[in-house]
Subunit: 558 residues, 2 copies
């Protein structure tokens, strides 16, 4: 027997329509590629998204077509989220930090029908235009008078072009002829709304195809007090890029709650972001640890403080405990540790105290807050051994972390790689995250490693992340990475690789002594290697595959 409640599909168009109706004059502020500041309201955003939907329809774009973007965080990118998704097409955000060959591969795999790009990325368009036959429309996110002239290159390295000039429209010219009157269509909420490829460090990238339903449920979950805790009292600046798992859902969460949004555009250095924080009275932000290090360095060097910023969510990779402590103790800013994946829309866990923790000693609270945290309702998780058996939630036992929920991937786009799920006795599928983690009795999860990075020494596991976090707490260390290197007796032993801070001096022995009393003796790295730079991937994560290659022939001291 069905309930007798209104039956309306969960579509992302309802979010922008809600914001336009009920928070009509709340602002969206964007720093543009041109360098100036652009301001308008949710009402304006909805109107222009509708204009875009009309323009796309007039250009022959149909429901289900993929529309690629190479763009920073900004209001036109926001309009693409809603205009493309709202009309039933799929917004395919591409990470511009990937190599052009990879980008071309992704565009072809997705069979994108159009590509919208910021002027910063004209060189990418030049490089891939000849290789992407499915793209029918190249649209530059700029005013009509800024439309770039780009010739396709077939030999970029040597600067040779085919001489074929690409037909490029400006975004403003593309939407200008079209009406802002448009009724967002109603359709199956399980239809696709967005596509994002994982920046896998091995093999080809894999696409995750989000549905309207999964995106909306994730949006509700992401705003909860124990998650992002965003409200109409907030002014949100997403530093995390809109090309990186939908900026962790903030372009949906913001209008859902009617928060003011501030988009930083291409300028993500500490100074530029800090200035926007202050000018626009930002209360909440989110980004990867490296961004926060940059901001802290700028603020510290200039003896500044944060006058409105209250909370930040840090994710993408583990945030060093020292960064959390600096924000809290020096600046009164709460850093919330978060964990997720492209395959999870992306939020899985966030780390906040609960009622039962409020009377714990501060050190215990801080220790807890270094974990990746507690699931939001909607996500379930467990740790299992290699045979798939459940492991205890004791905060100690390491296992492979599996997740499940309505905003978790079921299979990759075009079912690439077959069925990735592991099934339990009840036939429920669980997604293997590739992370190794512990879960404690209160449900707090802590990543101890990527399953392919964990060091297996004499049958026991050593967490490279723990060793790295301890190393970066040393005042002379700018960056640190730990990898396993072959060892005749123990199979693998840890090697600490360090980038020193400019002008800082520290020796191998001093660094190893720094671990004293903080870890089990047998975890101590066998050696330290000093390097100029540690290779990072397109989303700012340490490329351990590359590091292992670099140190392939390295021999540990005996």
């Amino acid at each position: 027997m069905h309930g007798q409640m209104m039956d309306m599909p969960l579509l992302i168009s309802s979010i922008i329509e809600h914001a336009a109706r009920h928070h009509s004059d709340t602002e969206i502020v964007s720093r543009r590629v041109e360098g100036d500041i652009h301001r308008y309201t949710y009402s304006d955003c909805n109107k222009r998204s509708k204009q875009l939907a009309n323009a796309l329809s007039a250009s022959g774009i149909k429901a289900g077509n993929r529309i690629a973007t190479l763009a920073w965080n900004g209001y036109r990118h926001m309009e693409l989220y809603y205009g493309v998704g709202g009309m039933g097409a799929v917004v395919h955000t591409i990470n511009p930090r990937l190599h052009p060959d990879q980008i071309a591969w992704i565009v072809n795999h997705a069979e994108d029908s159009a590509l919208f790009f910021d002027l910063s990325f004209a060189p990418i368009v030049q490089a891939i235009a000849d290789k992407c036959p499915t793209i029918k429309h190249w649209v530059a996110l700029c005013d009509a008078d800024k439309t770039p002239a780009i010739s396709a290159a077939n030999d970029l390295k040597n600067g040779l072009t085919t001489g074929v000039v690409i037909d490029i429209k400006s975004y403003e010219a593309f939407i200008a002829p079209h009406s802002a009157t448009y009724h967002w269509p109603e359709f199956d909420e399980r239809n696709a709304v967005a596509l994002c490829y994982t920046s896998g460090t091995t093999g080809n990238p894999k696409g995750v195809l989000y549905s309207h339903r999964s995106t909306l449920l994730h949006a509700y979950g992401s705003c909860l007090p124990d998650a992002m805790n965003v409200s109409a009292k907030d002014c949100i600046l997403p530093v995390v890029p809109m090309f990186h798992v939908n900026a962790w859902g903030l372009p949906y969460a913001g209008p859902l709650v009617g928060a003011k949004l501030v988009f930083p555009g291409p300028m993500l250095d500490g100074k530029s972001v800090y200035e926007l924080f202050e000018q626009e009275k930002v209360t909440f932000s989110a980004g990867v640890p490296t961004v926060w290090l940059g901001i802290l360095q700028y603020v510290g060097a200039n003896k500044l403080s944060f006058s409105t910023l209250k909370r930040t969510v840090v994710g993408g990779s583990a945030c060093p405990p020292s960064t959390i402590a600096t924000f809290r103790d020096q600046y009164g800013v709460e850093v919330v540790h978060a964990w997720g994946m492209t395959e999870m829309s992306p939020l899985g866990t966030l780390c906040k105290l609960q009622n039962k923790h409020l009377n714990l000693p501060v050190e215990q609270q801080q220790k807890l807050l270094e974990k990746q945290g507690h699931v939001i309702y909607g996500v379930d998780m467990k740790v299992v051994d290699d045979a798939g058996n459940d492991l205890p939630w004791d905060g100690k036992t390491y296992g492979n972390l599996l997740v499940r929920g309505p905003w978790v991937v079921k299979e990759y786009f075009k079912a690439d790689g077959g069925d990735p799920l592991q099934y339990n006795a009840q036939g429920q599928g669980w997604f293997p995250t590739g992370d190794v983690a512990t879960i404690d009795v209160d449900g707090y999860m802590q990543i101890t490693d990527r399953s392919k990075d964990v060091i297996k020494s004499g049958g026991e596991w050593i967490s490279t992340i723990d060793l790295e976090n301890l190393a970066v707490a040393h005042p002379a260390v700018a960056q640190a990475a730990v990898i396993g290197v072959a060892h005749p007796k123990w199979d693998e032993r840890p090697l600490l690789i360090v980038v020193k801070k400019p002008d800082a001096q520290v020796t191998r022995e001093e660094l190893l002594a720094f671990y004293d009393g903080k870890i089990a003796k047998w975890w101590l790295p066998d050696d330290v290697a000093f390097v100029e730079a540690i290779p990072l991937g397109a989303t700012g994560k340490i490329l351990k595959t590359k590091l292992r290659e670099m140190f392939r022939d390295y021999r540990l001291p005996t």
Copy 2:
């Protein structure tokens, strides 16, 4: 093209399963009808809900069957929510304050298969047992040794019984033989989960049949920071009864976020509730204004304060501004005004400040907080004239309030009363709330009256609620109601009906003078009537139909 995300139905069993897995030892504390305090955890609650599901199945209860409850807020009622709903049956909460004849009518209309009741309500069972042929199981919510012996009455007024002893089981005996091992079944999320009848002041009660989907979406929405703002940091005491629109969804919201829950059982007087607040360190509560008046009186008379209570949500009827002010100024407790209906699951709007209001003068903030508030994403609303045309959102223009959303009723149970919706040009159905309201430019709604209560004087509307709120701010007034009475020239004019506080003295002239400068001159009531009591309905609302009957022959002074 469908997205490729995990496809799992939104079922309420996933809420209690989430709480049991991820907040396993968080407590549910209940004051029982027996007077003692019962404590257990979400893990226990899930286990016993599963036992109940097994017991119901063994008793022949099938998916879709309606299971009635006559019960206070307590852990066994919670188990009924999850055990009944989780197995696919429908928990039908009945308001025990209704007349037994109405209760029998509702049970028969719903064709309930079983009835679970607190011992307090044994007299109701006695009165209705003979009249409810669909009930196959009568279960008393008590231990086996407390099972009451009840004979059916066919002439309750005169204490005559049929002599037929009703077969009553105790809840504990009912579930004891059954295993706590049970896999919550997966089924269509649009299936019904709960049923609640409106306590309509005219005509027969009408049933609202909630679905799993509507209940879950409402639960997400209700926890948002701008709504109930509940989190795992909270200890929630729902004073609002679980027989009254699912205690505003708190039995779902609590386990969704992992908050500690405290159920007050039958003792809702100021002293009893206050003592639970203090003993259990309650941070958040919710209830109708009359409950809060009782608590304030007790706390004031005994010169107490609230040591942990931070926030309350007040709804059901408009909360007098003076109550909001007393909580804020004397006790540091935030009172959040809320508005909803049985037909809306029930939450529609809540009243909190937004980013743009934070720098307003305090008086303007307070004025704003007296409104019913802003919709949660998921609910849309508008005001229309009698012809259905949209009225402006200017904070002044009154109109009929219509709502729409995935947790709003589509039609009443068994389609009673035909299609209640009003359709717009796009064919979207809107539910007419029966309220008259204004909406301001920021989307804040304020109820000015029930459409049947509003006073139409010389073609203009006068809000009875405004007049009542002003009257109860007078120190001598305990309760106030305003109704329209016939007037030869103006059609209708307002009559103020007042219950004085014990020992308080006030005259007609003093009360009318109290309105000076606070309202338009033509709004001033034409007369004041002092009464001993104002008739209240089963949910504590003023019965204006009754008042109009009482004052049918009343003639205004000329």
